[in-house]
């Protein structure tokens, strides 16, 4: 397993480089122009000057090389400087966003808290809801509870978040009285700092609606998945054997079946983690959370190529990393899998 992990880590380097090249090529090929958001009142020759100032006129391979150097050489130095107070990166050009003319990584770091709070929390809540529902639905397959669970899960999955989000806002922000306990803010305040219980309460309140919307969506998927996995295991011979041995029903389900059923579920949960960092574009937009998802979609709309390139590359690193983790977990949890 260790061998396998090391080998995969080594392979990850060329893979990621290749992904970086493909992303870069794709972005270059895609139509669009960072000047699209500049009003039409600005004449074309001025726009041309602005493009030049962004470095757009340079040959493509030079642009790519610059990005590589900035991302892999300068940015780590900035991080080291930040931690140890050294001055390696002084005066070196970092990856600059075209929209804000500021370092991309600074903005990414700025966006991290709200994305982790909202999207991360909704993932955890989603998992916590989904597992028991999935287990019980499978155990009592085709019972009322199972049917209801299926129904809700399917609704949760098939109704898009741009609808559920707005629905919650209309109910809890518009129609509730402002002073009432059931009133929740429709706009997420990213400047809120949690310093005491009151501000913690405020943070919980402003997270409530976006987390609910996303958790419903996440739970819908994971519960389907848990149920299917449980169903497969409940019919296996070892379950019959365990029952025949006189093992208690509770132990059969919660120990033998659940453990085996969790193997694929755990790996899929691991595979979903990079997407937490990717943010939830619609939900972030509906509640103005302005996290990483909103950052990416805004950058794509503004054709802010350094930002898009850096963000997608970070996601790519996370995806490759968590795929590896999922594979390793799979191997550890299921000894029958042989990678070598």
């Amino acid at each position: 397993m260790l061998n396998f992990t090391i080998r995969r880590l080594i392979i990850a380097v060329p893979t990621l480089l290749f992904i970086a090249v493909v992303i870069f090529g794709l972005l270059q090929l895609a139509p669009g122009d960072p000047m699209a958001q500049v009003p039409l009142t600005v004449p074309p020759e001025v726009k041309e000057r602005m493009r030049e100032a962004l470095g757009l006129g340079q040959p493509i391979h030079i642009q790519f090389w610059k990005w590589l150097v900035q991302f892999f050489w300068v940015e780590p130095q900035v991080l080291i400087d930040h931690i140890f107070g050294s001055h390696f990166a002084d005066g070196k050009l970092r990856v600059l966003s075209w929209q804000t003319r500021s370092p991309v990584m600074d903005i990414v770091v700025q966006r991290m808290p709200q994305t982790l709070w909202v999207v991360g929390m909704s993932y955890i809540v989603g998992i916590l809801i989904a597992l028991p529902i999935g287990i019980y639905s499978a155990y009592r397959q085709y019972s009322i509870f199972d049917q209801l669970g299926t129904f809700i899960a399917m609704i949760g999955f098939s109704v898009p978040t741009f609808f559920t989000g707005v629905l919650l806002i209309v109910i809890f922000s518009v129609n509730m009285d402002h002073g009432s306990f059931w009133w929740f803010p429709s706009i997420y305040d990213t400047t809120l700092k949690v310093t005491d219980w009151a501000s913690f309460g405020q943070q919980i309140r402003q997270m409530a609606m976006p987390v609910t919307v996303l958790a419903l969506y996440n739970a819908a998927q994971i519960s389907r998945f848990m149920r299917a996995s449980m169903l497969d295991n409940l019919n296996q011979d070892y379950v019959r054997t365990a029952r025949a041995k006189g093992v208690g029903e509770r132990a059969v389900v919660m120990v033998h079946v659940l453990r085996n059923s969790l193997i694929p579920v755990v790996t899929v949960i691991a595979l979903g983690v990079p997407q937490v960092f990717g943010g939830a574009i619609i939900t972030e937009q509906v509640f103005k959370v302005n996290g990483l998802g909103q950052l990416l979609i805004g950058a794509i709309e503004a054709n802010d190529l350094p930002m898009v390139q850096t963000l997608t590359f970070i996601f790519a690193v996370l995806i490759v990393l968590f795929n590896l983790i999922a594979d390793v977990l799979y191997g550890i949890l299921d000894p029958r899998i042989r990678y070598d």
Binding site: P31, D33, V46, A53, K288
Partner: protein, 568 residues
Amino acid sequence: MKLKTVLLGAAAAFAMAPAAMAERGADGHVNVIYWQAPSILNPYLSGGTKDIESSSIILEPLGRYDPDGNLVPFLATEIPTVENGGVSEDLTSITWKIKPDLLWSDGTAFTADDVVFTAAYCMDPEGGCAQLSKFNGIKTVEAVDPLTVKITFETPQPNPYGAFMGGQSPILQKAQFENCTGGRAAECTEANFNPIGTGPFVVDEFKPNDVISLSANPNYRDPAKPAFATMTFKGGGDATAAGRAVLETGEFDYAWNLQLAPEVLEQMAKGGKGETVTAYGTLVERIEMNLTDPSPDLAPDIRATVAAPHPILSDLNVRKALSMAIDREILVEIGYGSAGRATCNLVPAPEMYASPNQDCIPQDIEGAKALLDEAGWTDSDGDGIRDKDGKKFHLLFQSSTNAVRQNFQDAIKAWWGEIGVETELRNVSGSVFFGGDAGSPDTFQKFYADVEMYANNFDGTDPQAYLAQYRCGNEPKPSSQWQGENINRFCDPAYDALLDELAKTGELEKRGEIAKRLNEMLTKDTYTIVPLVDRGRVSGHSNTLGGVALNTWDSELWNVADWYRIKE
């Protein structure tokens, strides 16, 4: 009717303002939401409206336009004119006098050197300044004394109020930006995010594309203003959400540009937490006719260029018929409600430049049919679509992606269907459509379609540069990397001659006459441009926010120093 009362209400509130407050910071906190989030607070590095408007809270120009389009001094003592001697008789120089004892928010003195520096900053060839056109034709900018700036032009300028006028070209502090000129402009993140200004508020924290936290400028020139101690300027989401936050949930005090379907806005206004305000500027939603052939069968260097005239739309009667089939009043009703007016003009305002032409307003389906018959387009095979010489009357109609535009496209397609014209619709993402990517077939400049719809306006109150866009040779073409502003590929030597005359004319009345004539040559005479709706700006503010005076000629936040909390 409703609009009028709203405007009157706003005006009344404005008039009452001075009485309602007396002390800086007495009214606490104000929340503003822009559904497009500001990216940078230096308007010279980004032409985006969101960035210009957000920075206008912090940075100020020498003079601004007021809601009626008049020039009002801000950092200057008065607006220089030929009468008061500020503008030279030959129109080649303008001299601004700066108010004495002005301080930057960091407490240092504001001088003419800062103004001179700002000009140098923007005119630096390496800097990629977004407002460079404001500094067009400037020979020198010099500080005559610490409170006097003289701008000399290379040629006489009938409109010398480009630089330092309006939200697009405010004054930057020399001390802060000294090391940020030219190629280094982009590296000064700290300065670009926290510019030191003379405006009513200073930046406490700026989170790009998200939120700005501001507080009152302790050195603001009026000791009683601003009434608010702090401000949160939130960005992001969409117009619906912004409208809801102000009109329905009451979480925010001011929402910018609520471009929503009229009935949606009406429903929100029932929330009772706030009201909408409307004002008109020069923004006109129009259909542009392609005078050149966009057929994909043509070679790339001929397609959509003047070398290939359009097979259908080159005929004036056809263009006129297409315009006649449109009911502009209904378009206003479905798309803009009280925030739009049907118009036949490319230049709808200011009044002295706006032609009185109203001919296009009544829809005339029968007349359109007759015109097409006359032009030789008849339905010879009885399939409901006109044809001529075996060619179907088929148009490709493109626009940017936007709910209102798609409704318009659907409605216009239906009307054109009634007169026997088959229309194929296409919508293109705004980031592609309005971008100038020469490699994309979908930009509005390349115009690989027969007709297209979008909106455009001009900065300030003078339409000269705007009308000059339609000069022969200014069309997008392969040799200019498809850059150019003459989208229709319109070309008329008489038009160009009249443009030259306009550039030489200083007398306002005469200028108005020429501009009206030019406007009519593009619209009523040739139907090259088919204006549809004169689009107003709608913004919303809460019932407790006073002092709002919606301005379409300048930044909407131009008078944010005068805003105050209405006590209940």
